[in-house]
Point group: C2
Chain length 633, copies 2
């Protein structure tokens, strides 16, 4: 964590200095704004936290509810999401309070006594092998609390406008604020009042029954399945030995997906309520909680649960729907998008793969920096078209995965020939539910794969997978990727060649008036305001004299123009780590440049000599900010 | 972290339910209270956080200042203190914001060019080898913020009474509230007003010029040394390559102890200002900051610092003083103590070993549970005499250590024959500055060492050194010691014998009406309200069926009488840990009981068969709470 950088900070260092629209931010919803976010779910709240890092942009978030969410529906947190929490500054806190999944166990009928269940397999959770972050279970309400804190602590000081309902919108094709939005206050002295506001952009994060989706005429494609599930968060006493372990239970009496929750006592159970008749017309949703508990006990036989408190419960049919496009631009139209859909507003599915909240958050992470870039003049408006292009296929993948997982989970024991099949599927597809399968295709913000062989361990289009390195300034072992905060900046990692000469040449070029820094950094801004450039040397850290590295890597920034000591790294192993980033990521010893987007996805892999290609890549993603001769300080 | 245990909790789980004096706690300082803490430094604030876990006790903390500390003096955090932060629930947060010491480097004159300094040694910091927690540097003000949060979040809802000054006290030898304290309001509408309040106990945490010490007539024994140091927290630009590494610099021009601070930019420098004349009369304290900076630059030659901001600075002479006794009872007096001294009020010394704040916090940790036990009727008042008996020798050790370290640091290069001597001393004594050398002698709360050989790795009287184990309920690897929160409870770890039969017998006895649980747990309280009893099995966790362990280890507690799943552990190694607690702590395969005090010090090591000894030990430390026949639920 870096601070004291604009002078000594006495208090909570997680609170940034307010700036731009964060200074004297109006407590009342104004009539005009740059970005209006509709809905305070995981996608909307992440987006608010991200926009708070662009304080020049005025952002408001409206939520119909009168205050914070009290009972959350979602609770599964992929390692990719914990990585994202790290970027927003609260990973260590949420890890400390969440349930950590170490194992997933499988239960099936006892062959000798099929009315009883027995444990058929134990599998170590995938997260341990796939990421430095764990796989967690924690109430969505707490995730939202932490994003709300990040939004309020950011320089934009964004807090939600609770008690405001979205009614409809019209996109005009002219004016500074072309989106006209009709709202209604739902609480407080103005309850019932309708009003119209205008925004440059509107983001619909308003859930499965999205009014924003409706307003732009997008259709949610898919169908409810004819299979119903009950879900309950319960405090119980039980003789079931895996009450605190995640389990899939396939009994003669039906199926349960059992998920322990944070705090040591609570668990969530998804209980299979079986096929639903064609003419049921959602009557299954009226199933009383006692019936769900009775069913759970039948499945758990010979074990049972004695329910002491039901914290939350619901009955639903499995639906799989995805919106065909996540913005308001139809095929053939040439204007740039003005309205976007995120989260459940554009993809809904069963909860049982623990994916929904995670994919929704990545929607917000993908969109946030793009809005920030366009609205601060860093990038052209066409950047915004990449949002739907990148996220719609991810949603489609999610629906496909979930459909397969749901139907596997809902099978009857007699349909199962191999009792370990479910476990095998679970482990075999681990990268998907971990959140690491997303790979964006080539675009103005993701380069081609011509030079991928220089760094096979950093696949272009996938998220930057961190490795421990040694910080040269103090010898501390740190995760290279964890320094990449959700601050809207691009990361440029320059991995040095063996003798450092190519790195020297590259850094001299990168510091020149022709290079992306000079071209795309706004006048008056710090030299690392847009590009956070770091060097990683293959030598041991003791061999690197930080006072002799190219000055690009020890820039002086902030009002005091203080040297930044945290941009120069050396590969392990060292006394405190066995990691060797050059070996683990198969980096060429000739040195290589790895460009990472503000949402942590690898954008380009280039040789140190490919300066023209690097300049061309950024010229495609970013606008020129000044006459070439002027270099940032 | 365990919660949802009294029903579902939606918000921040670190906030406990208010109870006792925490419900409708008066915002104004009342006229009577159980405990009055004077001063909001590290000892006083830890004590407030601890007392908040005893909400039946009314505790107030007065502080002359009108609000929180803005600039802290101390900044060195031993691993033992981080362990303590873990018990108070904020270790992961403070670790994320602190500077982590990986190395300590040593600099001396270049033999070829003695006016220049060169690096003579790099040493890996001791903390890595000695503890699972790091050695940190972070502003005392932040440590106090976190303890203030813990005090406010605890069931006692304790917040400091700022703007109230201690004037004096009189200890009467009769009445419920025998200590009469004279105070003055220093701010707000009542500024200047004097008043008298009465307390059962008063704790002087009011610093080196303690008024409480004065009031009870204790003398601070020792003297100022004739050696002066300047200290400054500065933001600089520099060509000194170790600006971000802790260093001891012994130059011809003098000495510097250099300590990087949190946030990546700030460092603290202790600069040797040399011998002080006998008749100086503290005039050295007027040394201007420019002179201190000039001296620093002379020592750093050929490097230099360009100071951009001085966040804080001071000049002081090294003093080493310790109070002969830390309470108000003189030798030969038979009454129980009513007034206690903690922290700088009873031990002052140089800051350079980074010890002061740490030892002060352990004063508070030692005293807090004892006050809580006596005031809630769990223990006899004589328990309070163990505070001074245990902590005064620790302070004396500290003074001795610091005197040696300070004089080593203040040597001239020509006095140093072996340039690695300082490094060798530093590493050779690592256990002391880590905070792990404290060993309390035998007393009513620390048993004798007759059975120490059953568990040589848990030395009686030293703090319980944690090891990773596997939680049977969910297969998670956790640190056994980290479950021991600062909640005022005793921990009883029952390490099982190989076939579990001795553990079975022990747990049957421990659940009986003769055993300490029945004898010392107040009627109506949860069975684990006083004793948190845990089992640790030598087998792999998969071999333990948690539904079949003795019911003592799966108690049902709280208003819902929910099963606690976090009291049964198995030894590693497992898929996620290489630790084996039985091997690492050399535990006998016959099983052993390890009793740990509420402040985390090992109180007793006993065979599973020594039930009479265990009962006798607790009968000496705790009062009987009910007729023997009645057992807690």
């Amino acid at each position: 964590m870096q601070f004291h950088h604009h002078g000594y900070v006495s208090g909570e260092p997680r609170v940034h200095e307010a700036s731009g629209t964060g200074i004297d931010r109006p407590s009342e919803l104004p009539d005009e704004m740059d970005v209006l976010i509709v809905g305070s779910g995981p996608a909307g709240m992440l987006l608010a936290a991200q926009m708070s890092q662009f304080p020049q942009v005025s952002t408001r978030l409206i939520e119909r509810r009168e205050g914070r969410l009290v009972l959350g529906q979602a609770d599964g947190i992929q390692p990719r999401s914990v990585e994202t929490f790290q970027a927003f500054g609260f990973a260590e806190r949420i890890v400390a309070e969440a349930y950590n999944i170490a194992y997933m166990n499988f239960w099936g009928p006892d062959p000798g006594k099929p009315q009883n269940i027995i444990r058929t397999a134990r599998t170590e959770d995938y997260a341990f092998k796939i990421s430095e972050f764990p796989h967690l279970i924690v109430n969505q309400a707490r995730v939202l609390d932490y994003f709300a804190e990040a939004a309020a602590y950011g320089p934009g000081r964004i807090t939600p406008d609770y008690g405001v309902e979205f009614l409809g919108l019209t996109v005009h094709r002219d004016g500074e604020h072309p989106v006209e939005v009709r709202l209604r206050h739902t609480t407080g002295p103005r309850a019932g009042q309708e009003r119209t506001i205008r925004a440059k952009y509107v983001v619909g994060s308003d859930g499965a029954r999205s009014g924003v989706r409706e307003a732009i005429g997008r259709k949610h494609v898919g169908a409810f399945a004819a299979h119903a599930w009950g879900v309950m968060d319960v405090l119980v006493n039980t003789d079931f030995p895996d009450w605190r372990t995640k389990c899939a239970i396939n009994a003669e009496a039906g199926n349960i997906l059992h998920i322990p929750r944070e705090g040591g006592y609570l668990s969530r159970m998804y209980i299979d309520l079986g096929e639903v008749a064609e003419d049921d017309d959602h009557r299954v949703r009226q199933t009383p909680i006692d019936e769900v508990i009775r069913k759970a006990n039948a499945i758990l036989h010979p074990y049972s649960i004695d329910v002491k408190q039901v914290a939350w419960s619901s009955v639903y049919e499995v639906g799989h729907r995805v919106t065909d496009k996540f913005d308001d631009v139809d095929v053939g139209e040439t204007h740039d998008p003005r309205v976007f859909l995120t989260g459940d507003a554009c993809h809904t599915h069963s909860a049982k793969a623990g994916q929904g909240m995670n994919v929704s958050m990545q929607d917000g992470f993908n969109l946030g920096w793009k809005l920030g870039h366009v609205l601060t003049g860093l990038s052209p408006a066409e950047l915004l078209s990449t949002y739907s292009a990148e996220r719609q296929p991810v949603a489609q993948q999610l629906i496909d995965f979930d459909r397969e997982w749901s139907s596997l989970m809902a099978r009857k024991p007699e349909e199962i020939s191999d009792p370990t099949e479910l476990a095998t599927f679970y482990l075999g597809t681990a990268e998907f539910p971990s959140g690491f399968m997303t790979q964006y295709g080539s675009s103005m913000v993701t380069a081609g794969a011509q030079h991928q062989s220089l760094a096979p361990g950093f696949p272009i289009g996938k998220r930057f997978k961190s490795v421990e390195v040694v910080r040269v300034g103090d010898g501390n072992v740190v995760h290279l990727g964890h320094h990449a905060k959700a601050d809207g900046r691009w990361r440029v990692y320059a991995f040095a060649d063996a003798d450092g000469s190519a790195l020297q040449d590259w850094s001299a070029w990168m510091s020149s008036a022709d290079a992306p820094i000079a071209r795309h950094t706004p006048p008056g801004a710090d030299v690392d305001a847009v590009f956070d450039v770091k060097a990683i040397y293959p030598q041991s850290f003791e061999e690197i004299d930080i006072t002799r590295v190219p000055p690009l890597f020890t820039p002086r920034t902030g009002p005091l123009e203080l040297t930044d000591w945290e941009k120069v790294y050396a590969s392990g192993p060292s006394a405190w780590t066995s990691a060797d980033i050059f070996a683990e990521r198969e980096l060429t010893s000739d040195g290589v440049v790895v460009v990472v987007r503000p949402d942590q996805y690898v954008a380009a892999v280039l040789p140190l000599t490919a300066t023209d290609e690097l300049a061309a890549f950024f010229a495609g993603a970013l606008l020129p900010q000044r006459v070439p001769a002027e270099t940032p300080r």
